[in-house]
């Protein structure tokens, strides 16, 4: 999926998929952007973790506290955690993992609008699935990088616990690469050393760009020294942080060392934040992209005394990376001083001084117990003044101090307030000048999202159907995600990373030979049809919930389908779901159809959606090859569900009669047969057949 980095990646468009974990590593962090733009798309992802540079995150959260932003779901609905590194934790990646698939982005952008949606960044995008396993090593390298942060104690203990959960939900993801990976970090070795290992000699040309340089251009000098390129092309922008005198000194007066001013052609004002070192050899090219600027801390040092960086190094045939420059306009600069650029301190690689007093590093809320870990050992007699996001006092019943950790027992009202989310302000000895903020990790809530994942809230309502059209539409979506009714359903299971709606006319083109039925039979949705050998004590499958709801109309039959109470705002919404609502139509026509549907009243849209669902089902009933592969138990179960569903929909005019009646007759014929057709129940075992006989008589 990713031989070359892509300059125009819009990350919010790459989030679709059935993931269990979304993990973001970033230096700078814009939580408002995350909450307003990404959270809706990641609503169905149970575990959402942001790992950000500790000083940058503290700055973001400090600004939020200062300017009255609550971030209610931070560390409650998602994790916003620091990477506590003495220098900059500068690596940028996004790792989306599901039970059998993954997507990985490694690049230059920070979590925010510019970093995730502007043409000034570069991203590598990798995908993994059973049938596309070639980038497994990259995923393993990403996991190894994250685990490297944990093993170095750079992450808070609650985050390490949650990461274990994340890895546990993706058993396909090895702890470390078993084959060479293109992803490299400087956790153990400087990036420049790894680049030197991978890049063949000789280097005919070095092309480099980064928005930040050392004051003395040491990293650029070292690149030239190590690789001895015959030509050097240094790319700069109007906003490059570098000293022109140092650049001149480094490049010298050699005519083969040139400077070019670059702009994004279509968007000249775009800030080019991407960083790359491009080495051109006689027949091949080597490219380093990622988070590393042209600085000592990023490029020349390991994390032992430098930043934390991650990137991608790949060597490919000549011309592979030409697209890197396709969107850029380059102009030769004869005198770099004329650009007006300068070295600006306080750049991405600089670190701030620590505060002079102990601050709350992290905290954790478990029921009525709040534990706060400080940056220093606290004297036992220390008094704390705690306030919630609205500046209301938090009442402590008791406080014990153990080293750097304070354990505070809260009164019930205060505990309830804190559980609602948001920051806690902590004043030491009630001193306004010794103030810090913390958003407590609420692990029970974060884990609760995992428990809720996969639950279908509307399925139990199939018995009588919901009264509201919007709820009926939700029920349809959940049924579509639960039942395997046709080749499209199978295709979605077999291709979870590329879900899109399939037009009726495409059904036939989905050849059974192309569908991986072994994979389908391993999928929990297929297994949900087979409940006989299910161990006692396990929660009901979605199919069981549906059947119990239908049987419930006949009296107290079936399973108890009640669900645990759900929280309103943190419900696993369905934005990121695939299925009927998928909005990733490829063509303009599909987009237009979608827009037309959106303009229709909800009742009409719901009826149209059910019409389509019913037609898909009825059409598949006559697809004997599909039914044979599906097997009698799922096929008969579907028939029972549809027989009920069609009756109820016809009662409330929720489906076009023409389609519904045809489908119902087809269902009855399928179940009970007629003179011309053999029936599905003939293939069932004797117990089922006897029931069929008694029903049929």
């Amino acid at each position: 999926m990713s031989a070359a980095p892509r300059p125009s990646v819009v990350i919010p468009e790459l989030l679709q998929g059935q993931w269990t974990t979304a993990l973001i590593c970033t230096f700078g962090v814009n939580l408002t952007f995350f909450e307003t733009r990404l959270m809706t798309q990641l609503a169905q992802v149970p575990l959402r973790i942001i790992l950000a540079d500790d000083k940058q995150l503290a700055s973001t959260l400090g600004e939020a506290a200062r300017t009255g932003q609550r971030h209610r779901l931070a560390n409650k609905g998602y994790v916003a955690a620091p990477i506590r590194h003495p220098r900059a934790a500068h690596g940028k990646l996004m790792l989306l993992i599901g039970p059998a698939s993954g997507r990985l982005l490694v690049g230059s952008g920070n979590l925010g609008y510019d970093g995730y949606a502007s043409p000034g960044e570069l991203w590598h995008v990798f995908a993994y699935s059973d049938d596309q396993p070639q980038h497994l090593s990259e995923f393993a390298a990403a996991r190894s990088f994250i685990e490297g942060l944990a093993s170095r104690q750079l992450l808070d203990p609650p985050v390490i616990e949650l990461l274990l959960t994340a890895w546990g939900s993706a058993t396909w993801l090895p702890q470390a690469p078993t084959a060479p990976a293109t992803i490299c970090s400087n956790l153990d070795r400087p990036l420049i050393a790894q680049l030197r290992d991978l890049a063949p000699a000789p280097v005919t040309e070095l092309i480099a760009h980064a928005p930040f340089h050392d004051a003395d251009c040491a990293a650029l000098q070292e690149l030239i020294t190590r690789f001895e390129p015959k030509q050097v092309r240094l790319l700069v922008t109007d906003a490059t942080s570098a000293d022109p005198v140092a650049i001149k000194r480094t490049l010298g007066g050699d005519a083969k060392r040139i400077i070019e001013l670059v702009q994004v052609t279509d968007e000249p004002a775009a800030y080019i934040h991407a960083k790359w070192v491009h080495l051109i050899h006689p027949d091949t090219e080597t490219l380093l992209t990622g988070s590393a600027n042209l600085s000592r801390s990023a490029l020349l040092r390991s994390s032992f005394n430098g930043n934390i960086e991650i990137g991608v190094v790949s060597t490919r045939p000549a011309g592979t990376f030409d697209d890197l420059y396709a969107h850029l306009q380059r102009k030769r600069v004869s005198d770099v001083s004329s650009l007006g650029i300068s070295y600006q301190g306080g750049n991405e690689d600089d670190t701030d001084d620590a505060t002079s007093y102990p601050v709350a590093l992290w905290s954790r809320l478990d029921g009525d117990t709040l534990s706060i870990t400080f940056s220093d050992v606290m004297p036992e007699e220390t008094a704390f003044s705690l306030k919630d996001h609205a500046d209301r006092a938090i009442v402590a019943v008791s406080t014990t101090i153990d080293g750097a950790t304070a354990i505070v027992k809260l009164d019930k009202e205060s505990a309830d307030r804190l559980a609602d989310g948001g920051r806690i302000s902590v004043r030491i000895d009630s001193d306004d000048d010794r103030l810090s903020f913390t958003w407590p990790y609420q692990l029970s809530h974060l884990r609760g999202r995992l428990d809720k994942a996969g639950q279908r809230e509307r399925l139990p309502s199939i018995g009588d159907l919901p009264a509201q059209d919007a709820e009926l539409y939700e029920l349809l979506r959940e049924l579509d995600q639960t039942l395997i009714i046709d080749r499209e359903s199978v295709w979605r299971i077999a291709k979870p990373g590329n879900v899109r709606e399939i037009d009726d006319s495409e059904q036939e083109s989905l050849r059974l030979d192309d569908l991986d039925w072994d994979r389908v039979r391993r999928d929990p949705r297929y297994g949900g049809y087979f409940t006989r050998k299910r161990a006692a004590g396990l929660p009901p499958t979605d199919i069981q919930v549906v059947l119990a709801a239908i049987a419930g109309r006949l009296g107290d039959l079936g399973l108890d389908t009640s669900r645990p109470d759900t929280d309103d705002e943190e419900d696993l919404a369905h934005e990121g779901d695939a299925g009927l609502s998928s909005e990733s139509g490829d063509s303009d026509e599909e987009l237009e159809d979608e827009l037309t549907r959106r303009r229709l009243p909800i009742s009409t849209r719901t009826r149209m959606a059910f019409d389509r669902f019913v037609r898909r089902y009825a059409s598949a009933l006559s697809d004997s090859a599909f039914i044979d592969e599906l097997g009698p138990i799922p096929a008969a179960t579907n028939a029972v569900v549809f027989d009920h569903l069609l009756s109820r929909l016809l009662e409330r005019q929720g489906v076009t009669p023409r389609w519904a009646i045809d489908a119902q007759i087809a269902t009855w014929r399928f179940l009970w047969g007629n003179d011309d057709l053999s029936t599905v129940t003939e293939n069932l075992d004797q117990g089922y057949s006897r029931k069929r006989s008694s029903f049929g008589s």
């Binding site: 408002t32 307003t36 600004e63 300017t67 609008y113 510019d114 906003a239 004002a269 306080g346």
Partner: protein, 285 residues
């Protein structure tokens, strides 16, 4: 009513500051082509304040100040001139060159992004603090607390702002420091927050990028958020209680004066209006 009007001035200050920053930023960056280092913006603000003595007077009687003038001294000069001690519901005594409405009108009508405009806006916010934001005046506005606190996660609320301003003034800041604080925390941060929430509609006028600011050529209007006032004024005019609000010298009608003085309409006024309506209705049947 005073609180409603105060809130209009309060909102106007931040919208006008955004307009100031946005237009000055665009001018400094070739209409947004380059990134403006944040430090450069603060130098611009300080320079504008230092140069304010030579700016047009805008018809205002502002005391002469520069970037290094202490806010406390500036505030003393303001409150010597403007009577901010009147109660919440009393009519505010006017000051020809310095009261809130004069400051607002001058910023609106001159619409220039200079130092004097900055000083007028700082003066406006300080006068509002004197009227609504001092702890000792809290009791007067107890009933209006919800109105003063309005703002939510995305907007500046007056009560919270006043609390933060009071804390800030304890540090004895200069006018430049106060202006920087207002622009950074209550203009740029708030604008980014609102614009981010509106994505994918791109409504950014300014956005922080690294250690700098990117400006976008989009209009940043500054006006009262007075749709309710306009709707009500139209209604009372159409009810025949006042001449049109478009006239500077609008007047109460006899009915309007009766309503004002008696808290009731003249006897028979409603019946007369209803009869006219019924007659009109039967004519059209």
């Amino acid at each position: 009513m005073a609180v409603y009007q105060g809130r209009e001035y309060f909102g106007y200050v931040f919208n006008r500051l955004l307009r100031w920053v946005s237009r000055r930023g665009l001018a400094e960056t070739d209409a947004g082509l380059t990134v403006l280092p944040s430090s450069r913006l603060w130098k611009l603000v300080a320079q504008a304040l230092d140069d304010s003595a030579t700016d047009p007077h805008m018809g205002l009687a502002l005391p002469e100040v520069d970037a290094s003038t202490r806010v406390a001294a500036f505030l003393d000069a303001l409150t010597e001139e403007v009577d901010v001690g009147v109660s919440a519901d009393a009519v505010w005594p006017r000051h020809d060159g310095l009261d809130e409405h004069v400051l607002y009108q001058a910023c609106r009508d001159f619409d220039t992004d200079d130092g004097r405009t900055l000083i007028a806006l700082v003066a406006l916010i300080l006068l509002l603090r004197e009227r609504f934001g001092l702890p000792q005046r809290g009791a007067e506005f107890r009933q209006e607390q919800s109105l003063l606190a309005e703002g939510g996660a995305l907007r500046n609320g007056m009560a919270r702002f006043a609390h933060l301003l009071n804390q800030r003034l304890l540090r004895d800041p200069t006018i430049a420091e106060l202006a920087q604080w207002l622009i950074e925390d209550f203009v740029i941060v708030q604008h980014e927050r609102v614009a981010t929430a509106k994505l994918p509609d791109d409504t950014y006028r300014v956005r922080r990028v690294g250690g700098g600011l990117r400006f976008f050529a989009q209009e940043a209007p500054a006006a009262f958020n007075d749709s309710r006032f306009l709707a009500l004024s139209t209604t009372v005019h159409e009810l025949g209680w006042v001449t049109t609000f478009r006239e500077a010298e609008r007047k109460l009608t006899l009915s309007g004066r009766a309503l004002l003085t008696d808290a009731d309409l003249p006897s028979g006024a409603l019946e007369t209006a209803a009869a006219a309506h019924e007659a009109q209705g039967s004519a059209t049947e």
